[in-house]
């Protein structure tokens, strides 16, 4: 009985294959985009977390030198002998033949287990690791590069980021020639409570607490936020499709429901059957969606990886591992989303009396009251968004602004469209034109979800596009200002640097030392750069604001410039004095922009820096020369000093690299743009297809009064385009507002710098064209059905017996 009833319910789909396809595609697309984006995010986050926890042991508090770069070995022994559970690290860049790797020397006996990257299975492995011969533990990719040049045994360990190698602290000490001095000291969690204080044992060290999240994750948050926004949007749009498809299928099966109920199928078991049916579809589509999502992510990941590496220096593998967590998450989203979007229909079935009329009515009827309530909700959300934008603070509030703004605009859209159509209707005198506008307004409830989806995807596209383009333009302009020197040379050691200092002035217009130290400023360790007094800086350096006479005061040594991050985060104001190290205070004389840098930074006069840090590494130099001669000079330096290519960088190629990175970003954003628009287009298609089923009774009288089917079809296209056009116009201010929130609120909260917003109307045209194609495609099939409809079908509308 139950089985027969279930089959009767299912038979509906045999008659409506297109509806079934719509439903399956809806869930599949929603799941695919969502899980694809999640896969990318998960992969990237996992790799940051891995990199941070592995390379920096950032899950643990650390001890760092207050001054200078290294910690004497004796300090470590002193800490241990005072009972501190700490482990030393020696790290640095090391070149094996042509390959540079980050060498991290750890001490396996004391390294806290929370941060063991690999566990030698027995004593012989340990002996190999700490033996004099040494052992490099590296990723498979790094192993492939190093196998002929390492000169010591390699051990492959999957979890290690590329271009990094773990080795025993003894080997690192030997290779990096540190003579025992340490880079940092890692602290185990759960130190004994009775220990002597750090200030008494090792006053030369400061403790840095464990970061709850890796720096890289924070830095790339906005990028991943964009991806997530795209994914979520696509998911919501997909749910709209599912909502309309299930609503329609339930509506059309009301007669079946009624019959089954009269035949004695209980409400309970019928609801259960429908639930099983819809979950079955969700399951199938979910699996499809996750698979497609996986391939989507695999296709996009190389671009994403290139972007992340270029923009943020984050290393993310270009290939995707199939993670069970997003498999499960994808399936859960598919099931939950389907359940959510079919809840209303199921609810209606449960409340339907046995003998309810089987008369079809608009499947998603929306009264004027609903419209008004939506508009009210939209207005309230908009108010919240504005309030948060000006009164809120913090990243969460920034995201709140974003969310409220998007929801508000979606809720306000139907009211906006309704108003616009009423206006157009009022301005028309021709009977057909009046009918056209009035009839378009009648379709609005059935299309409003799809139109909201369209609005959101258009707005997000405009917003994210504006942000990325603004970022690119600002960043490249800023690079132009900042990368003034034609060549940047880095010596490998002090002796070579001395030779360079001797040689370079004879072959160039000017040699500008670029030396820096890490110092404690306002409680954080940050870079202090020394710059020479030269027009290169005076004329080009991108200052946001400054006291008069900025560069003279920097040159004299009593003035310092701080970057925007320090200015915003620490509230450092020009005129204020700050301490750069023990006993060295300077006046802040200016603020400069420093995009892409998550940390604070300060610039002082070169002489002052050398005076306070006489032992700083004097390795880097900027070289000014006629740009036409730069390539030759580069070759000359490479020949003369035998420096590796990467130690002599010319400005042009640096800029080229930056440009290439942005191209990647655009490729990824562009792909996601098209995909979200495609989903929105499909939602539109699904809605129009659904509506076309109930269009005939609305159109037949007009046809009977002498309007050709062809004209009616053209009017249907015009109707869709009119709605699309109005939605597109509405999306522009929403998108710009979104971009503003991203640039002026989220960016500042996340990174501490603010980008100027620039507007790119040409991009909108391109977007508009893509959306136009999407909407034409979406209306094509329903309209073709209408244009070729058999008059007999139209006549059936007028038949007396129905």
């Amino acid at each position: 009985m139950i089985w027969a009833a279930f089959l009767a319910l299912l038979s509906h789909w045999r008659h409506r294959p297109l509806q079934l396809v719509t439903l399956i595609i809806g869930i599949t697309l929603a799941t695919a985009l969502w899980s694809g984006v999640q896969a990318i995010n998960a992969e990237a986050r996992a790799s940051y977390a891995r990199a941070a926890s592995i390379l920096d042991q950032n899950g643990l508090p650390q001890l760092l030198p207050k001054n200078g770069d290294t910690i004497p070995m004796a300090v470590y022994a002193k800490l241990r002998r005072a009972g501190w559970s700490v482990s030393p690290v020696i790290e640095g860049d090391y070149r094996f033949g042509p390959f540079r790797v980050r060498l991290i020397g750890i001490e396996p006996l004391t390294m806290p287990i929370e941060n063991r990257i690999f566990a030698p299975s027995d004593s012989s492995e340990l002996v190999d690791f700490i033996s004099k011969k040494g052992l490099l533990v590296v990723s498979p990719a790094t192993a492939a590069r190093l196998k002929d040049v390492a000169g010591m045994p390699l051990k492959i360990y999957e979890d290690i980021p590329d271009d990094a190698a773990f080795t025993d602290i003894g080997a690192a000490d030997r290779l990096l020639n540190r003579k025992g001095s340490l880079s940092r000291i890692v602290m185990a969690t759960g130190q004994r409570p009775d220990l002597p204080a750090l200030e008494t044992v090792a006053p030369e060290l400061i403790s840095q607490s464990a970061d709850d999240r890796p720096d890289m994750a924070r830095l790339t948050d906005s990028f991943h936020l964009n991806l997530t926004a795209f994914g979520f949007l696509a998911f919501v749009v997909g749910l709209f499709i599912v909502y309309s498809a299930t609503g329609l299928s339930f509506q059309q099966r009301r007669a079946t429901f009624r019959t089954l109920r009269s035949l004695g199928v209980s409400l309970q078991s019928m609801t259960a059957m429908l639930l099983v049916e819809i979950m079955l579809f969700a399951l199938i589509s979910g699996v499809l969606g996750v698979l497609i999502g996986y391939f989507l992510a695999s296709a996009l990941l190389p671009g994403v990886a290139a972007t992340l590496r270029g923009l943020y220096g984050a290393s993310v593998p270009g290939s995707l591992s199939f993670r069970p967590e997003w498999w499960l998450a994808g399936m859960a989203m598919a099931l939950a989303g389907t359940a959510l979007s079919s809840f209303q229909s199921l609810w209606r079935v449960r409340r339907m009396p046995i003998l309810a009329a089987a008369q079809p009515r608009a499947w998603a009827g929306m009264s004027a009251i609903t419209l008004r309530l939506q508009a009210l909700a939209g207005a309230i959300l908009f108010g919240i968004s504005v309030f948060l934008a000006f009164a809120g603070s913090g990243l969460a509030s920034g995201f709140g602004v974003l969310g409220a703004l998007l929801l508000a605009s979606a809720f306000l859209l139907p009211a906006f469209l309704s108003r616009s159509l009423r206006f157009a209707e009022g301005r028309s005198s021709d009977a057909l034109a009046v009918w056209f506008w009035a009839d378009t307004r009648l379709q609005l409830p059935g299309l409003s979800l799809a139109l909201m989806a369209l609005l959101l995807s258009l707005a997000v596209n405009i917003g994210v596009g504006t942000m990325v383009s603004s970022f690119r333009l600002t960043f490249l302009g800023w690079l132009d200002q900042r990368l003034v020197a034609e060549l940047y040379v880095t010596a490998r050691d002090e002796a070579e640097a001395a030779r360079l200092r001797e040689w370079l002035p004879k072959h160039s217009d000017a040699v500008l030392p670029i030396w820096s130290v890490e110092g404690n400023v306002l409680g954080d360790r940050l870079q202090i750069f020394g710059v020479a007094d030269h027009p290169t800086y005076r004329d080009h350096w991108p200052l946001l604001n400054g006291l008069p006479d900025v560069w003279n005061r920097v040159a004299q040594g009593d003035g310092a410039l701080v970057n925007e991050q320090l200015w915003r985060v620490k509230g450092v104001q020009p005129g204020q004095t700050i301490s750069l190290s023990d006993g060295w205070t300077v006046t802040v004389v200016g603020i400069y922009s420093d995009y892409g840098n998550p940390k604070g930074q300060a610039i002082v006069g070169l002489d002052a820096l050398v005076q306070h840090y006489p032992n700083l590494a004097k390795l880097r130099y900027g070289i000014r020369i006629d740009p036409a001669l730069a390539p030759d000079l580069k070759l000359q330096i490479l020949r003369e000093f035998g420096l590796p290519e990467s130690n002599v960088i010319d400005q042009a190629s640096l800029k080229r690299q930056s440009q290439a990175v942005f191209e990647q970003t655009f490729a990824v954003t562009g792909a996601l743009n098209v995909l979200t628009l495609a989903v929105a287009g499909f939602a539109m298609f699904a809605s129009l297809l659904t509506l076309s089923g109930i269009r005939l009774p609305q159109l037949a009288p007009v046809w009977a009064m002498g309007v050709r089917r062809r004209d009616l079809a053209l009017l249907e296209i015009a109707r869709t385009l009119a709605l699309w056009c109005a939605t597109f116009i509405a999306a522009i201010p929403v998108g710009l507002a979104l971009a503003w929130v991203l640039l002026a609120i989220v960016n500042v909260e996340a990174f501490g710098w603010r980008l100027p917003m620039m507007i790119f109307p040409a991009d909108w045209l391109w977007l508009g064209a893509v959306a136009f194609v999407a909407s034409v495609l979406s209306v094509l099939l329903p309209v073709m059905r209408l244009a070729t409809v058999n008059p007999a079908d139209l006549l059936r509308v007028f038949a007396n017996e129905r």
Partner: protein
């Protein structure tokens, strides 16, 4: 916490000891070194103090091993262990991180109901751990064994012993009431019928007073302690699986050191009778009977915790019982080590160590 550390730490001290046995045999041909370049003990070499209190980096392994039978004012019995092992990857010393010596500290406190264990690991050459002969100092992290040398007598006559872990710690002052005891043949202690041997001397005459704290509550204690010093490069034969070692304080003031090295065929037994004034008499291998009486579960293994010890030539026949069956050292290489009591022809207390179960 520290036990957890220990579980993850990978130095396998006894593993190295046992592993070395495989290559040890062929090195014993009077050449004075085995295939890996380590020195091997030579019979007849005269130990010299305080020099030999210090480390012997040319030998593969070495330890400074103190066990103490203690009593609180309320009569409660306790045991304390302080051990520093040295294990060399290659013979010799090096500068800084290049030093091939690995140091391992074990500390334990045993009560009737509980057994507390901690382990420390460290590298030589950087100051974290090491031993200096004179003025004597042995340490790893903040665990120390410092000599507080009186004007005359041995460097190790007065020793301060400290260890502190998360949940227990102690500070004991050891004062020797007799001289150092050379085990075996003037300090040359044979460990198998195939001739494997170690240098081995002891100080069994310590009187102890000090404080043991458990969970932050200090308890004043008094008692007796026993120091063992041993170093070698290949102390076990390849077929030997572990050992059972006894240090016994007899009511008469006499001491007994006895061990049994188990092998696949049977056992190699050895004992040393130490008179109250420090005279030693090595017992013949056949004259010592060590017989397990009762097994208990400790660290997930079945370990014989009660024994019958017989030395017929001295009319000794005693049975031992542990203060705590579960004196399991859950260190990177786990073993059983705990205080025992004995009754029979005489009574007293001591320590039992069992490895290889």
């Amino acid at each position: 916490m520290n036990v957890r550390y220990a579980a993850y730490a990978f130095i396998a001290l006894w593993g190295l000891v046992l592993g070395a046995a495989g290559v040890g045999a062929q090195g014993f041909a009077g050449l004075g070194s085995d295939a890996h370049g380590f020195a091997v003990p030579q019979r007849g070499l005269v130990l010299s103090f305080p020099r030999d209190h210090g480390p012997h980096p040319d030998f593969r392994i070495e330890w400074w091993y103190v066990t103490a039978n203690l009593q609180a004012a309320d009569g409660r019995r306790l045991g304390a262990q302080w051990t520093l092992f040295r294990s060399a990857l290659v013979p010799g010393e090096g500068q800084g991180w290049a030093d091939p010596q690995i140091w391992i500290g074990h500390a334990a406190v045993t009560t009737a109901d509980s057994h507390y264990v901690a382990e420390r690991l460290g590298r030589g050459g950087v100051g974290q751990a090491g031993v200096v002969a004179d003025p004597f100092e042995a340490w790893i992290d903040d665990w120390q064994m410092d000599a507080n040398r009186p004007a005359d007598g041995d460097v190790l006559d007065r020793v301060e012993l400290r260890a502190q872990a998360q949940d227990f710690g102690y500070h004991l002052t050891l004062a020797a009431k007799g001289h150092l005891i050379l085990q075996g043949d003037r300090g040359y202690s044979v460990k198998s019928s195939m001739g494997q041997a170690s240098y081995y001397y002891s100080q069994p005459f310590y009187e102890v007073r000090g404080t043991v704290s458990i969970g932050g509550a200090p308890v004043a204690v008094t008692g007796r302690a026993w120091l063992d010093r041993e170093w070698s490069s290949q102390p076990l034969a390849s077929n030997q699986t572990g050992w059972d070692w006894f240090s016994l304080h007899l009511a008469s003031g006499e001491k007994i050191m006895a061990f049994r090295l188990r092998d696949t065929g049977g056992a190699f037994t050895s004992a040393n009778w130490i008179s109250a004034d420090g005279k030693t008499t090595p017992m013949a291998s056949g004259d010592v009977v060590l017989e397990p009486l009762r097994k208990a579960s400790a660290g997930g293994r079945e370990v014989p915790v009660a024994w019958r010890v017989k030395i017929p030539s001295r009319g000794l026949d005693i049975t031992t019982r542990p203060l705590n069956d579960n004196a399991w050292m859950a260190t990177s290489t786990p073993y059983w080590e705990g205080p025992i009591f004995f009754e029979g022809t005489t009574s007293g207390e001591g320590y039992l160590e069992m490895t290889g179960y």
